[in-house]
Symmetry: C2
DNA sequence: GGCAGATCGATGACATGTCAACGAAAGCGT
DNA sequence: ACGCTTTCGTTGACATGTCATCGATCTGCC
């Protein structure tokens, strides 16, 4: 029962800064995206991931996996986007349970006209404010954290849960 | 007329890493917080900010301002927290429109018992994975971005909508 | 073949966040 | 004192995200 190791001044500064940046950056990017392209950030992410595939088609689960979304969330969101004509669903030939999400021409149009402005906003509010060394540091650090979180073994580090099969 | 300046490989790595970290870190911290303390992240943040004040009391607007929340959101959330006995509202003496959010003993108890575990989680999944130099870099970079976003003049930087496609 | 369990995607109930509007009360200039 | 405008916090309608569950289908194993 050691006293908890609180964050020291620098750590606290980093943590608070991260959370504040997160919030403000999100608000601003979402605001511009809505205003300029009529898309929400989730919309943009769906369209973006879809458009990165050869023919703009992906199994729903595969898309959910890439986006780190639950299938449920994606299914709900796709229904809304489908009503707006941005995507459609097709039956999957080799798996009758599955459905394939397909980018419509309107969806392709939407992402292609939104992308330049969005990238510019990301630059303006983040990337271009950083030195090259900071960009690299951010890349390195975030990927390390992601790898750590993606590793199921990480939770063994926690005090309590020790059980294993 | 310039083709949009897309992100180069390093910038893209940083940007994708950031978004992925954001999502995974959030999920994990929220998961542990709920499991260990029965609080959501928004709950924690409210209680945390309140507990940092001398007597656990703040004007609703002041709290909303600190948290970067809308008054509406905070009002809704407080209603839920109030029903769980974590906070109460009091009338404001010097401004009859206002209300003062007050941390209850139960709320104080909740944040005090949740904090050590939460800080430990933040360390385990983020801070302790970083070198001291990275912690400083993260602090510097996030604060720069925050300052930039907080500056109302920043939007003047946006290109005029004069360009035709 | 046929059964048991896993996976897929959809759905409804519910929790949470956003947005526009509101009544009440301050501020402010006259 | 008087209006006009702004600010405060609340509210209701609605958009979005989560969670548990479902029927359908696939998979592996006998």
């Amino acid at each position: 029962m050691d006293g908890p190791r609180w964050l020291d001044e620098r750590e606290d500064r980093a943590w608070r800064g991260y959370r504040r940046m997160r919030r403000l950056l999100d608000l601003e990017l979402a605001r511009e995206l809505t205003q300029d392209a009529g898309l929400s950030e989730p919309d943009y992410d769906v369209l973006s991931d879809l458009s990165e595939t050869p023919r703009g088609r992906l199994r729903l689960s595969e898309l959910a996996h890439r986006m780190l979304w639950s299938r449920s969330r994606l299914s709900h969101h796709l229904s809304r986007m489908q009503q707006r004509g941005l995507v459609t669903r097709e039956e999957c030939a080799d798996d009758a349970r599955g459905s394939i999400v397909v980018l419509t021409p309107a969806g392709r149009q939407a992402i292609e006209s939104a992308a330049p402005g969005h990238v510019a906003a990301v630059r303006r509010h983040l990337i271009d404010l950083l030195t090259p060394a900071e960009v690299d540091a951010l890349g390195a650090l975030t990927h390390r954290v992601v790898d750590h979180l993606a590793d199921p073994g990480l939770r063994a580090t926690r005090p309590q849960p020790a059980a294993e099969a």
